[in-house]
Symmetry: C2
Subunit: 606 residues, 2 copies
């Protein structure tokens, strides 16, 4: 190994991290997916924490295009890693509990076999002779490392961006060796827009005269395609940030650039920033690696159609946590949703959150919403064990006690008792608008195993994951398209019908997805409400979901029991059971329910 | 003039357009805004149609960064121009009616003085010695041309993108010489994100060894910074398209590139497209011009804050039409809205539409939504005359006859008669949710001059513009922040209160903006509705705005007259007048209105 080469490729960092870097060399040839082979492979990696006696606490962290094995600091005197906010003692990926492994990926330039390493056959760096590799090849090298470390099954594989592509590949290539998979800001494949930016970046590099066909390592002073690599990095940097974030950072004082020593344009503050980022990158990264890794990312493709993606992901057998960020336009949330949809279609356990964050694609590296996405990862990690939910009931209880005024439909849950009675034993259940997961938790206590919640609120999602519930962030106004016909025994819509705009749409969708559907709703013809309008001439107001004023009620629809009955009749919906309640007394109502009950629960089917 | 140079700079086109190109040379020095001067200026321009005897039908079209004077074909055998869909006989910019002028901008490379033209002082092309110019300098050259053509006042100045920057500058620099200004996909200044892309493009050009400090014209075969310019163009091209458009175009067959002769990467179909665009651009455009023009665009700045923008735009005296496109992320709609907000704040007549289109920044050059944005321009152009509205009542009537089922609140306009009586003579009026402009048109017939409508629907906006009404596309749920306190004598909210979610917000805002507010709303305590709930136990349904089913009504709030009275009392809102109507009989109701009226009209103030 050429240590001087490795060190010189990262002059911007101290050499400290290298003290913790380990190398493993595998002398058997690596046969590459797209043809050709590498005669041997060296992997640079770092580990954190201790492997348990049962060898069941290993977490593999996969890095993105410009990352390396130094994911976090090893101690106080150490340089921070690229994901210090996530990995460390007591952090979301808790090195007190887990054995964390991070290796420089194949094709990289920080210790693992890549274009800047010596080709054993020629004795010179591979350069542009380094073959075209795939994410699958990267994962194959990681597999060798995991074997080398004596680990049969990874507790968790996690990664953001290109790291997410690796995690996805692990889950589908080695379903028996991955218990949980977490992707952040990732995708089944790049958008054509993201791909186009990479094309421009690569063209900038290989058409820089300093590139010299990729054999610039032995240059006597030329230094390689420094302009091209800097241009590629500047361009990529723009795509990692959101427009909002750039506005906030660079609009004030846009004509006041930092005094960066650079030959690049520095008329504007954003220009001096880009110049700085370009220079910094050229100091620590290899242009051939950039070309190699970005091409591997661009070739990554789990399928163009939902059907193809479903076929591929169906082979996985792990638990899934998928996280996207609202302002990420490079790997837009809709692409993470494609992954989630395919997993839902395959009946795989998946939790999904599209975190409201302003940081763009880089959000998974930022502190902005760490409390949410880090919290989700922390809770999800704790719940991987098959031994059953490592719940944190005290946390969930604390959340519930706090109350969330926006979530008014979860405060009066008399209907839960009835709904629980109406759900057959062991039934699979989809709970639409599951809130903090109270109903689903009670079902699990009763022994149900296939339980899925749908919820919009981030904090509620977190509360669900803390109870080891699978919950998907999804807007019910969009229907239930990810779910297959008859996918659940029971679909529940409790106290939510009246707040949905597309009433017909959601009822149609429930009946499609559930063999049986349970709908609880407030009765607008309850006598107190009728009397208020009739006698006082006032928009009705009462307890429960009718305690709002006419001008601020979150209720959107105001059906009576008779209205819903007629609706079902008109739509040829079978009504199997009806339960009427007086929510003040907690009693069931038998007599004139449309007048005397303030809540109703119907069991429906097509 | 060096004709061979001009021709050689555009080998991709036939020379045909040049037959129509005219040149005007102004020998007095041009003093530049940022210092320095050009000893003389030549302008290349084309004209279409005939200047009227009164010299009052001139339309100046300003082109964007890569455009030129050839905006449209001059006849059947001619090459199409860059805006052939917009300019021509019978088109939105009708060359049968208007005298259309389009000149190559200062700093360009298609005939007008720019870096590729000969510097009279050296006898060689300016190259990188061409000074830094501004959009203001471009407009100054256009002013000389307009003077030269003997035109005192431009009927319309219009432009998209950088062309919009020129139009904005015309309106504020020469307020007495512009009667109407139209901007498409433009902005008060670039976002930091857009600026960053330009920085990368310029760095790619000037760091291409072929750039040779900008003096590449006399190269013996080098050909200039062809790679750098192609890279800049590839990058810019990505920003001109939307992600959706790129997905639709390049996702199918993404690994099936076109066989373009290129040294650039063509692994992906999007790559071969970018390579093609890059090559095509290098053949017809000059790198120094690209650097010069993109810098002028980046330096364009009407103000960072709303206050600054307001100060600048307040000096204009023309009518305004501002158009943005929903999928434009380079010049995002929010930037056009900043222009509109500033104009509203200055009480200037402005119409705004954010056209729902998928084409990205280039939408203003595409046919996708030409019926809307071209229609708006056509109608707006026809209405510039001070002589009064050149209305097309037959068109508006045809639209009204078609009906638009989504716009249900404009079908029963009994309340209009009453509202008209309640509005004082000559009052300025803001109509929130103005629909097709029926109320505003009736007010104008009555002699009111300051009338503004707010509407969401594109077709309704078009109908309003066809009646020469100023109408702004704006979502009432966002409040009325563009409007100043007490800006209007009267603000009208007719039959819309019940469909707005943020009831308190919109009422507060109306009372802030209007000295007096007129609100018409359906009365939910009308006896037929009361009885239906009380006696039948059904969610009430009646005529008018209550003819919907509980599950599909667009009504969001259900107040009674008493509810609104109590609301006003609680909020300390003064109620000056109340009118109660029976919309079936058309009669006013005096007796027990909360029971007997199905509609009420209140006049309110703070």
């Amino acid at each position: 190994m050429n240590d001087s080469l490795l060190e010189s490729s990262d002059r911007s960092r101290s050499a400290a991290p290298l003290h913790h870097m380990q190398l493993a060399t595998f002398s058997q040839p690596l046969h590459l997916e797209l043809g050709g082979q590498l005669p041997s492979v060296t992997v640079a990696y770092e580990t954190y924490g201790r492997l348990s006696a049962g060898r069941d606490n290993a977490v593999l962290v996969c890095h993105a295009i410009s990352g390396d094995s130094h994911v976090a600091r090893h101690g106080d005197g150490d340089d921070p890693g690229w994901w210090d906010i996530m990995v460390g003692p007591g952090k979301s990926i808790d090195t007190d509990r887990y054995f964390v492994i991070c290796s420089n990926i194949l094709g990289g330039c920080r210790g693992t076999t890549g274009p800047n390493r010596s080709n054993p056959q020629s004795g010179r760096p591979y350069g542009a002779d380094f073959p075209t590799i795939t994410v699958g090849d990267m994962v194959e090298v990681q597999r060798r490392l995991i074997d080398h470390l004596g680990i049969e099954t990874l507790r968790v594989v996690i990664g953001g961006s290109l790291g997410g592509h690796q995690a996805l590949t692990w889950a589908v290539r080695h379903p028996d060796r991955v218990r949980a998979c977490i992707t952040l800001a990732s995708s089944p494949r790049l958008t054509s827009q993201a791909l186009a930016f990479d094309v421009v970046g690569r063209n900038a590099i290989v058409h820089d005269p300093g590139y010299r066909g990729g054999q610039y390592y032995d240059s006597d002073g030329g230094g390689g395609p420094e302009v091209g690599l800097a241009l590629a990095r500047m361009l990529a940097h723009i795509t990692y940030l959101s427009r909002e974030a750039m506005t906030a950072k660079f609009d004030p004082g846009r004509l006041e650039p930092r005094d960066t020593p650079t030959a690049f344009e520095k008329k504007f503050s954003v220009g001096s920033y880009l110049a700085y980022q370009g220079h910094k990158f050229v100091e620590r990264f290899d242009a051939n690696s950039y070309v190699t890794l970005s091409m591997a990312m661009d070739l990554f493709d789990l399928g163009e159609t939902a059907h193809e993606l479903h076929s591929v992901l169906a082979s996985s057998r792990c638990r899934w946590l998928v996280i996207s960020f609202t302002s990420d336009w490079l790997f837009p949330p809709a692409q993470s949703q494609q992954i989630v949809d395919a997993l839902i279609g395959a009946n795989h356990p998946v939790t999904y959150c599209n975190v409201e964050a302003s940081g763009g694609h880089d959000s998974f590296l930022l502190e902005e919403k760490l409390s949410i996405y880090g919290g989700l990862i922390h809770a999800f990690n704790a719940n991987v064990d098959d031994a059953g939910p490592a719940r944190t009931p005290e946390k969930a209880a604390a959340r519930a006690a706090l109350g969330r005024p926006t979530n008014i439909f979860h405060s009066h849950r008399l209907d839960y008792d009835v709904i629980l009675q109406l759900i057959p034993a062991a039934a699979s259940v989809l709970d639409l608008g599951c809130g903090d997961g109270v109903l689903l938790s009670r079902l699990r206590e009763r022994g149900h195993t296939r339980l899925v919640g749908i919820e919009l609120d981030e904090e509620s999602l977190l509360a669900c994951v803390e109870q080891r519930l699978d919950v998907v962030q999804h807007d019910l106004e969009q229907g239930l398209s990810p779910f297959a016909d008859g996918q659940f025994d029971v679909v529940v819509l409790s106290q939510t019908l009246q707040s949905i705009d597309d009433t017909e749409g959601i009822v149609d969708e429930m009946l499609r997805v559930g063999n049986s559907c349970i709908v609880s709703f407030p009765n607008f013809a309850y006598h107190k409400l009728r009397e208020m309008l009739y006698e006082e001439g006032r928009s009705p107001k009462a307890g429960g979901v009718y305690h709002f004023e006419w001008y601020n009620t979150p209720n959107r629809r105001f059906p009576s029991i008779s209205d819903v009955e007629e609706f079902c009749s008109r739509k040829a919906i079978k009504v199997h059971q009806k339960v009427y309640l007086d929510s003040e007394t907690g009693q069931r109502i038998a007599d004139a329910p449309n007048r005397n009950a303030d809540m109703a629960i119907f069991v429906l089917s097509r």
